[in-house]
C-alpha cells in the first residue's frame, strides 16, 4: 500500500500532471497562458496554495468532522488564496494586474480541492506536502510549456521581465490566432494528443 515517498512527488510531474493527465483545472490553463511569465506566475501562486492547504488539511484531518470537511477545506484554501493575493499585490503588482481575477479563482480550482479531498485528508503530513509540491510543479511546468508554445507562435518572441527575446527573427509573421482564446483550445488539444502518444505503451 505505502508507495515510496519519492513517487508521491514524481507522480505529479508526469503520471498525474494536472492539465494533461487528470484534465483538471483548465480554466486558468486556457486563460492565463498568453505569455510564459503569466503562466509561471499563476503556477507558482497555485503551487503555494496547494502545498499549504495540503499540509494543513493533513494536519487537521483527524479533527475535521467528515460532514463539514468540504466547508473546512474551502475555508483553508480561501485563506491561503487571499494571502497570495495580498502578497502579490504588495510585491508584484504588474503581475497582479495581468492575472487579475484568476488569482481569487484559485479557490475554486478543482485541483486544489481535489488534492485536499482525495489525498491530504487520507495521508500523513509529509506525504501530503510532497504530493502538493509535485502536483504544483507539474501544473506550473504544464502552464509554462503551453504558454511558451502559444507565445512563441503568436508573437515570435518570449518575454521575460518585460524584455522580449526574439526567437524567429524579424522576418517572422506573428500567428496571432495562437494568443487568442481559440488558439488556447487548439494548443491544449494538440499537447494532450502528444502526451497521449508519448505515454502510450
Amino acid at each position: 500500500m505505502a508507495k515510496p515517498l519519492a513517487q508521491e512527488f514524481f507522480k505529479g510531474l508526469w503520471d498525474e500532471v494536472p492539465p494533461f493527465r487528470l484534465v483538471l483545472g483548465l480554466c486558468p490553463v486556457l486563460a492565463v497562458t498568453k505569455s510564459v511569465e503569466n503562466g509561471i506566475g499563476m503556477g507558482i501562486a497555485t503551487t503555494f496554495v496547494l502545498v499549504c492547504s495540503n499540509v494543513l488539511v493533513s494536519l487537521l484531518r483527524k479533527a475535521i468532522p467528515s460532514k463539514v470537511r468540504i466547508a473546512c477545506f474551502i475555508v483553508i484554501i480561501a485563506t491561503f488564496v487571499t494571502v497570495v493575493e495580498l502578497v502579490m499585490q504588495a510585491f508584484a503588482y504588474p503581475l497582479f494586474l495581468k492575472l487579475g481575477i484568476f488569482i481569487p479563482l484559485i479557490v475554486v480550482n478543482c485541483i486544489v480541492l481535489g488534492r485536499s479531498e482525495a489525498f491530504a485528508s487520507r495521508n500523513g503530513v509529509f506525504r501530503s506536502f510532497l504530493d502538493g509540491l509535485g502536483i504544483g510543479i507539474g501544473f506550473t511546468l504544464s502552464l509554462a510549456v503551453l504558454a511558451a508554445v502559444r507565445e512563441l507562435f503568436g508573437t515570435g518572441a518570449l518575454t521575460f521581465w518585460e524584455k522580449p527575446i526574439p526567437i524567429f527573427g524579424p522576418s517572422f509573421q506573428p500567428f496571432s490566432f495562437m494568443i487568442e482564446a481559440p488558439g488556447a483550445f487548439v494548443c491544449l488539444g494538440l499537447l494532450l494528443c502528444i502526451m497521449n502518444l508519448v505515454g502510450k505503451k
Partner: protein, 197 residues
Amino acid sequence: MREMIKMVVVLTILSCFSGGLLAYIHSGTKERIENQVLEFVKGPAIRMIFEGATNDPIVDRFQIKDGDIERTFFVGVFDGEPRGIAFETSGKGYGGDVGLMVGIDVKENKLLGVGVTTHAETPGMGAKAQTDPNFAAQFRDISLEDPINVNQDGGNINAISGATITSRAVCAATNEANDIYKEFKDQLDDQLKSFKK
C-alpha cells in the same frame, strides 16, 4: 448532538484563525499595496506631468480634507522650488468615469499637463486619451483663466476624432480640477511653503 457541536466548534475555530491571519497580513501589506497602486496606476500620469521634476512626486504627497473625502496632492519640485501640484479628478466619459491626473503650476496659475489614470473607454477610440501623446500635449502650459473646452464647444482643444465624449470628459475633469484648485489655493500654498526642500 455531540457531533453537531463538534462541527460548529471546528468550523468556528478554523474561521477565527483564518480571519486573524488575514487581518494580520492585511495590516502588514496595506501600506505597500497603496504605494504599488500609486506607482503603477497613477505613477505614469504623474511622472508625465512632472517631467523634469527633481523629486519623486509619488513620495512627496499630502492630504487635505474636502468635506467627507480626503484628496491626495502630489508635489513636483522644479529648479529647487516646489511649484507643481497634481491631483486626481474625474469626468463622465463614454464608458464610465474617466479618472484624470491634473498638474497645476501654483506660481504662474497655469496648467502643467494632464494624464488619464483610469478609464473604461473604447479601445482605439476613447482610449487614445490615455495613449496618444498629441492629445495630452494640448493641455501643456495653458492658462487657467478661461474654461477649457473642445473645438465643438468653442474651445481650443482638438477632440480625438470619433471620441468627442471622451475629450469632453477630459476637459470637464480639468475644469473641475481648476475649481478645486481655486477653493484650496490658500491651504495648498501653506503646505508648499512648509514643504521641506
